[in-house]
Amino acid sequence: MYVAVKGGERAIENAHAWLAEERRGNTDIAELSIAQIREQLSLAVNRVMAEGSLYDPDLAALAIKQARGDLIEAIFLIRAYRTTLPRFGASEPVDTGIMACDRRISATFKDLPGGQVLGPTFDYTHRLLDFKLAADGEVPKAPSRDAETGNVPHVTEFLNREGLIEEAPHDDTPPPDLTREPLEMPADRALRLQALTRADEGFTLGLAYSTQRGYGRNHAFVGELRIGSVPVEMDIPELGFAVEIGEVILTECETVNQFTGSKTEPPQFTRGYGLVFGQTERKAISMALVDRALRWEELGEDNVGAPAQDAEFVLYHADNIQATGFLEHIKLPHYVDFQSELELVRKLRREAGAQQVQEAAE
C-alpha cells in the first residue's frame, strides 16, 4: 500500500535547525562577531550594502554572518529587511565634488590638481598568498597625512571647459523610484543607473567586459575614479533648510569615451557614469561602461545588437535577487506540469509509432 509523504512542517524545522548548526561550524572555534565582519571583511560588507540598496555596515555584516558568507543570500536578507522600513523622506542629492577622497585616480591625465591618490588599493600588490596572515594578522601602521578638504574638482570638468566632452546639464527632475514603481520600458537614464547601481556585480562586470571585447565597443578610459565619504543632507520642512544627517562612503567612476560624432553632435568625448555604495570600484567601473553602452540611442549611435546595448535585456536580468529566486525555484515540485507533459509525450509517441507501423505495412 502506498502512503503519501507527510510531515513537510517537521522537515522544514529540522532543516532550519541543521542549517543553524552548520552556520556556526565547529564550536571549538571562536564565533565571528559582527564587528569583526564589518571591520575585516569590509569589501564583502560594501557589496552587500550596494546590491542590497541599504547603507548600514552593521546590518550588512549581520546578513553576511547569517548567510554563512553567501553574499547573494546576504543581499537578499538586506533587501527583504529594507522593504519593511518606513520611508520618512528623500535626501538631497549628494555632492561628490566635496568628497573626502581616500582614493582618486585618473587614467586620462598624468597629474591633476589635488594629485593622484592611490589609497587602499590591491592594484599594485603582488598576488602572493601572505602566510604571515595565517599566523598573525598584525600590521605596521601606515603613514598618514591630513585629509584634503574642500572642493575636489572632477576631471571631466577640465575637458568640459574646452568643450571636448558632452555637456551633462544639471537636471532637477525627481528620478523614478525603482523600489516603489514597477520597472517600465523604455527606461530613462536615471532609472537605468538606479537599476545598475544595485545590479549583480558579476553580471555587470561580464556585460562591461563584453563591450571591451567588441560587443558594443565604446572605447572607455577611466576619466576619474574616486572613493571617499560625502555628507548626506535632508531638507527639514519645519526648519526651512537642509541638515546633515550622516555621511556615506561612495565609489564614483566617470569614464571618458570616444565618440566620432553623429548627425546632430560634433566629434567629442562622451560619458559613462557609475556610482555605488562603499568601496566597490570593480562594480563602479563596470556600471559606467554599461551605462555608456546603453546610451547608444540618445547619442545617435548604431545598435549593433550587443547585449550591453539592450536595455530590456540588461535591466530585466541584472538583479541577482530576482534571478536567483527564479533560477532556484525550479527546485520546487513541478510534478503536476511534468505529469501533463508526460501524458502529451506518450500520446505523441503512440501516434508516431502507429503511423510508422502503418507506413511499414503499406
Partner: protein
C-alpha cells in the same frame, strides 16, 4: 525587528496592491503593473501570490495553501506558516471551509463557491513572453489585440505533432479581449477558470504584475475549429479513492518501475476516502 504589521506588508504597500487588484477586476485578464516588494521568501517561490494574499486577508479568514494540489508540500507549508504567524488567520486543508486559497499549479477539484477567493502564484504572467521576449513589444501586442503570433505557434504544433503541444500554462482568452496566462496549471484545469463562482486573483511578484478574473467571467482556451481544446489527464482512476474525474499524479512505487496514479488534490482524495471510496491500491 520585533513586530510585523498585520499580514506582514506595510499599509502603503497593501494600498498599492489593493488598487492594482481593483483595476485587475475591472479589466479582466489585463496584467496590471505593480511595485512588487521584496518578500522574506525568494522570487519565484510565490512572492506574487503572497503579496496578493497579504492584501486581501482579514483576521476573519480561513486560509488554505496548496502546491501541486497538496496542502503538505513543503512550500505550501512554509507559506501557510508565514500567514499563521503574521496575520493570525485560521488555516484549513478543507477546500470548502477556506475563504482564501493560495495555489501553485492547480485549481481544486471541488467547485469553489461565492465568498471564496483563489489566489494564484504566477511565475511568468505574459502569455506571449516565449514568442516575444520584449516587454515593450508584448505590451503593444496586447494593446492592439494582436494575437496572431500565438495562433501561429499553436498551429505550428498541430502541423508538426498533430496536436497542440502545450499541456500546462495553456493560454486563454478572457471576455473576448485579453489573452491571459492561467499560471502553470495543467490544461485539465482550464475549463474551471471560466464561470467560476469564486474571485480569481493572479500575482506575479518578480515580474511585477497582478491580474484577475471576476466571478462568472467568460474564459476560453485558445483552439481551432478543426482542433478543439481538450482537457486531458492520465487515463486511470485514482489508486486511493477510485475517482475518475480528478487530475492524477503518477508515482513510481518500486525499483521495477511499478506505478500508481493518485489524485493530485490531496483534500479531494482524502475526503473521498473518508466517505468510503476506495481505489485498487488502497489498503
Amino acid at each position: 525587528m520585533t513586530e510585523y504589521n498585520f499580514a506582514y506588508l506595510d499599509e502603503q504597500t497593501k494600498r498599492m496592491i489593493r488598487r492594482a487588484i481593483l483595476k485587475g477586476l475591472a479589466i479582466p485578464g489585463y496584467q496590471v503593473p505593480f511595485a512588487s516588494r521584496e518578500m522574506p521568501m525568494p522570487y519565484g517561490w510565490g512572492t506574487g501570490g503572497v503579496q496578493v494574499s497579504a492584501a486581501v486577508l482579514t483576521p476573519k479568514d480561513t486560509f488554505k495553501v496548496i502546491d501541486q494540489g497538496a496542502d503538505d508540500t513543503t512550500n505550501a507549508v512554509s507559506i501557510r506558516t508565514f500567514f499563521q504567524r503574521t496575520a493570525g488567520v485560521a488555516t484549513t486543508t478543507a477546500t470548502s471551509d477556506a475563504t482564501v486559497i493560495q495555489t501553485r499549479h492547480r485549481i481544486p477539484e471541488e467547485p469553489l463557491h461565492e465568498g471564496q477567493i483563489l489566489v494564484y502564484q504566477v511565475p511568468i504572467p505574459e502569455p506571449l513572453r516565449f514568442l516575444e521576449p520584449r516587454e515593450s513589444e508584448t505590451r503593444k501586442m496586447h494593446s492592439l489585440e494582436e494575437y496572431g503570433l500565438m495562433h501561429v505557434k499553436l498551429y505550428e504544433d498541430i502541423s508538426r505533432h498533430g496536436h497542440i503541444a502545450t499541456s500546462y500554462a495553456y493560454p486563454v482568452k478572457v471576455e473576448g479581449r485579453y489573452v491571459m496566462d492561467p499560471s502553470p496549471i495543467p490544461k485539465f484545469d482550464n475549463p474551471k477558470l471560466g464561470d467560476m463562482a469564486a474571485i480569481q486573483l493572479f500575482g506575479a511578484g518578480r515580474e511585477q504584475r497582478i491580474y484577475a478574473l471576476p466571478p462568472y467571467t467568460q474564459v476560453v482556451s485558445l483552439d481551432f475549429e478543426d482542433h478543439p481544446f481538450e482537457a486531458s489527464k492520465a487515463d486511470h482512476p485514482c489508486g486511493m479513492c477510485g475517482a475518475t474525474d480528478s487530475y492524477l499524479d503518477e508515482l513510481i512505487i518500486d525499483d521495477l518501475g511499478g506505478r500508481m496514479f493518485v489524485c493530485s488534490d490531496s483534500d479531494y482524495c482524502e475526503a473521498r476516502q473518508a466517505t468510503g471510496h476506495k481505489g485498487k491500491d488502497a489498503a
